[in-house]
């Protein structure tokens, strides 16, 4: 099954368990560890919490982007506060974000140089013992021991696979090695003992870029990062091999040969009473970029469905087939404030790549797109092709791309449309 990431802030978990020994070992790190709170200005109450840790003597605190995302999207509605180990609270300012790697830098006021976490210069080795630190609400600092299990395979944006409990409220907290140097940042959990960390080098480069030149505008910085990331992803997809694969022995479909796109299959051959035999292949990018709790981007979904009528008239087969294709929906979540409504175009299309051969396919093709309101030039795109040239067989080819620019969307669509055919 598909792995669902659960972002680990907001929920105030009380299931954290502290390892007493570890707490003693890392007691000296507590002055540099914070709880980061987002305060809703109107109500004066906190709306979300996470952890953060100081990485410079002059008060730069690193945390997750998703901890402060509400502020980044609506700075007029919130302010950000820290809570230190002594219970002191003060406002901080957001100075830089890396929305792709889910990192953010905030700055607190300091009177004198303060102790801070050092960022490691080396990567951990597989099996190395690491300690995740976090500051969930009311529990104080907790330490979770765990093991480094390398980078998560099949991910486009690198994540460390950490075997150990990352709990709600620990988002944005550091993960250190025995030398007390930061090697990762808590970001997500995938259930029992499986945690994910942002590798420390992402933080290093964000911090370096900040030191060189702090960004003038956070929204513009995010737009730039999203644009660059989609370009990198789409270029990677376009330059990879698109393997022609058979679906149910009747159709040829493209399978993009990259590790971060994973495919699953399903069919209803076990159901003898089904009126339509169906075989489904679906591929997707198992990660998406968190922009706010109602707005995700960066996801890709590809789906193929082969259908064969079983004792049905052509008209009834097409009637049921139409019901299958009439409800395609977006692959990513987005709200009214984030995107426009979809604009769609449909037509009958016979790709020339296979025209006049016996592979030739005639499709009813639908193309829809919606534009991002805050990030001009980025779009969500949806394509649906439904074959209309066989009486008793059908092939549906469908994909959604989230957060791509027009050029990449069109290049991808062209290649996709030309890669689907009958066998």
């Amino acid at each position: 099954m598909r792995t669902f990431f659960t972002l680990v802030f907001i929920l105030l978990s009380h299931t954290a368990f502290a390892t007493e020994q570890a707490e003693e070992i890392f007691a000296q790190l507590t002055p540099s560890l914070y709880q980061i709170k987002l305060i809703d200005k109107a109500s004066g109450e906190k709306s979300s919490i996470g952890s953060g840790f100081q990485i410079s003597a002059d008060g730069i605190i690193a945390t997750n982007y998703h901890v402060i995302s509400s502020y980044a999207r609506h700075p007029e509605k919130y302010h950000i506060e820290y809570l230190d180990h002594q219970g002191h609270t003060a406002q901080v300012t957001l100075v830089s974000v890396d929305v792709i790697n889910d990192l953010a830098l905030v700055k607190r006021k300091v009177d004198a140089d303060m102790p801070f976490f050092e960022l490691s210069e080396t990567k951990p080795i597989k099996g190395e013992k690491l300690f995740a630190l976090g500051n969930p609400h009311d529990l104080g600092m907790i330490v979770v021991p765990g093991t480094y299990n390398g980078l998560k395979k099949e991910s486009f944006n690198e994540r460390i696979h950490f075997t150990g409990s990352i709990n709600s409220g620990m988002s944005g907290g550091p993960v250190v090695n025995k030398l007390e140097k930061v090697v990762g940042i808590n970001v997500a959990t995938s259930g029992n003992q499986i945690g994910f960390l942002v590798p420390h080098d992402k933080l290093v480069s964000l911090f370096e870029r900040y030191n060189k030149q702090p960004p003038a505008d956070i929204k513009r910085q995010m737009a730039k990062q999203l644009m660059a990331s989609q370009d990198k992803l789409m270029k990677a997809l376009m330059s990879s091999t698109w393997q022609n694969k058979e679906l149910a022995g009747k159709a040829l479909i493209p399978i993009i040969d990259v590790p971060f796109i994973r495919c699953w299959g399903d069919s209803n051959t076990d159901k003898t009473d089904a009126l339509i035999k169906a075989a489904i292949a679906s591929c997707s990018l198992d990660e998406s970029t968190y922009l706010s709790s109602h707005f995700f981007t960066g996801s890709i979904e590809i789906q193929f469905r082969y259908m064969q009528a079983r004792n049905l008239s052509d008209n009834k087969f097409y009637h049921l087939y139409q019901q299958q294709i009439s409800r395609a929906s977006a692959g990513n979540r987005a709200s009214k404030d984030d995107v426009s409504e979809y604009q769609c175009h449909h037509d009958l299309v016979r790709p020339e790549s296979t025209a006049n051969t016996d592979k030739s396919i005639n499709n009813k093709s639908v193309f829809c797109t919606r534009a991002y309101k805050d990030f001009p030039g980025l779009f969500d795109v949806l394509y649906l092709g439904a074959s209309i040239d066989k009486n008793q067989q059908a092939l549906v080819s469908h994909f959604t791309l989230a957060g791509v620019n027009q050029e990449n969307a069109m290049t991808f669509t062209r290649k996709f449309m030309e890669a689907v055919s009958w066998k």
Binding site: D273, K336, E341, Y342, H345, A386
Partner: protein
């Protein structure tokens, strides 16, 4: 209202439109026609009298006997003197009033009567007409009459109902996502037909209640033929939608076809069922059509969310034998899809 007519020389007529203007006779003014009418001015009874004094009341000695309990035994009398008819109220309990053709109403004791005046006594109404009263022009049979004659033939009605049931059975067959059961299909076809039969039955009932000829076969025949036509127009619309690209003008045109058909159905329903003026008939058909389509549009509109996160597209597909249009190539499709990005950007800027 019970009517008794004991007058010699009186002639009863039931057909409203067949009375013709008689030739001018020397004694024309002594001949008078008195119609008993309902409050809606519908004819109940007609009396033709050739006397110079006419008594009207509840008593049996009267020329016209009315059984309305609010009328006195000797309520009024009409007298012809010097070529003019005079109305006299004989001191009745509830009085008498006269309503002239312009709709003016006045209480009277003694008054001259003109052609077309309506006498209101008790809760009854009498219209007074002279024999030279101008009648409306003869209405010629419209071409619809011969068409309706064919449609109201029981065999034609039966054929249209059976055809409709077959269509309903086909629709239920198409919609069944599992193995189809023939008897189930026909039960649903029968119940759908029964449901649709409520419309012509309802119209016939209303025309019966309003004292018109119900013409039930004609109503059934015409309604079911139009139900079939509406289904055909829907099929046609789908074939067009299947064969054409977005923003096709033809598609828009065909969405108006059902509206036109519904209007025609309602117009014919009222033509068959009710004797009303042509303008009124159009008004009735327009208002029912507006109510039906405007109402369903309003319902859809009110259900429409403020922001729809799902794409709205036309997914009409049909079996290959309905495909008549040629297909485009990928280039053309992408070129046309490219325009959507500009549209989406504009839509994003709107709010």
């Amino acid at each position: 209202m019970e009517v008794t007519n004991e007058i010699l020389n009186s002639v009863e007529e039931n057909e409203q439109t067949t009375s013709s203007t008689p030739a001018n006779l020397p004694n024309e003014q002594s001949e008078i026609i008195i119609e008993e009418i309902t409050r809606n001015h519908k004819l109940v009874h007609r009396h033709r009298l050739t006397k110079s004094e006419i008594c009207i009341g509840r008593g049996y000695q009267n020329d016209i006997i009315l059984s309305d309990p609010h009328i006195c035994p000797q309520h009024i009398s009409l007298n012809l003197s010097q070529g003019e008819w005079q109305l006299n109220d004989n001191g009745s309990v509830n009085g008498t009033s006269l309503e002239n053709s312009e709709g003016k109403h006045q209480h009277i004791h003694q008054q001259k009567i003109n052609d077309g005046d309506v006498i209101v006594l008790g809760k009854s109404q009498l219209r007074v007409l002279f024999s030279d009263h101008q009648v409306a022009d003869t209405i010629a049979f419209s071409p619809f009459e011969s068409l309706i004659d064919i449609i109201r033939n029981p065999i034609a009605v039966l054929i249209s109902i059976v055809l409709f049931m077959l269509i309903a059975a086909n629709i239920s067959y198409l919609n069944q996502p599992t193995e189809t059961n023939i008897s189930q299909m026909f039960v649903s076809a029968f119940s759908i037909s029964l449901l649709f039969a409520l419309w012509p039955a309802g119209v016939a009932l209303v025309s019966h209640l309003t004292k018109h000829d119900p013409r039930i076969f004609a109503q059934f025949g015409i309604s079911f033929i139009f139900f079939i036509l509406l289904w055909l127009s829907e099929r046609l619309e789908k074939i067009i939608a299947f064969n054409s690209a977005s923003n096709s003008i033809l598609g828009l045109l065909f969405t108006l076809l059902p509206v036109a058909l519904a209007f025609s159905l309602f117009w014919l329903n009222s033509y068959i069922g009710f004797h009303v003026s042509a303008r009124r008939r159009v008004a009735i058909a327009v208002s029912i059509t507006t109510l039906l389509f405007g109402g369903s549009y309003l319902l859809q509109y009110s259900k429409k969310p403020e922001f729809n996160p799902h794409p709205q597209y036309n997914a009409a597909i049909m079996a290959p034998h309905f495909l008549i249009a040629p297909s485009n190539n990928v280039d053309t499709f992408l070129e046309q899809s490219n325009r959507l990005f500009e549209q989406a950007t504009q839509a994003a800027k709107k709010n």
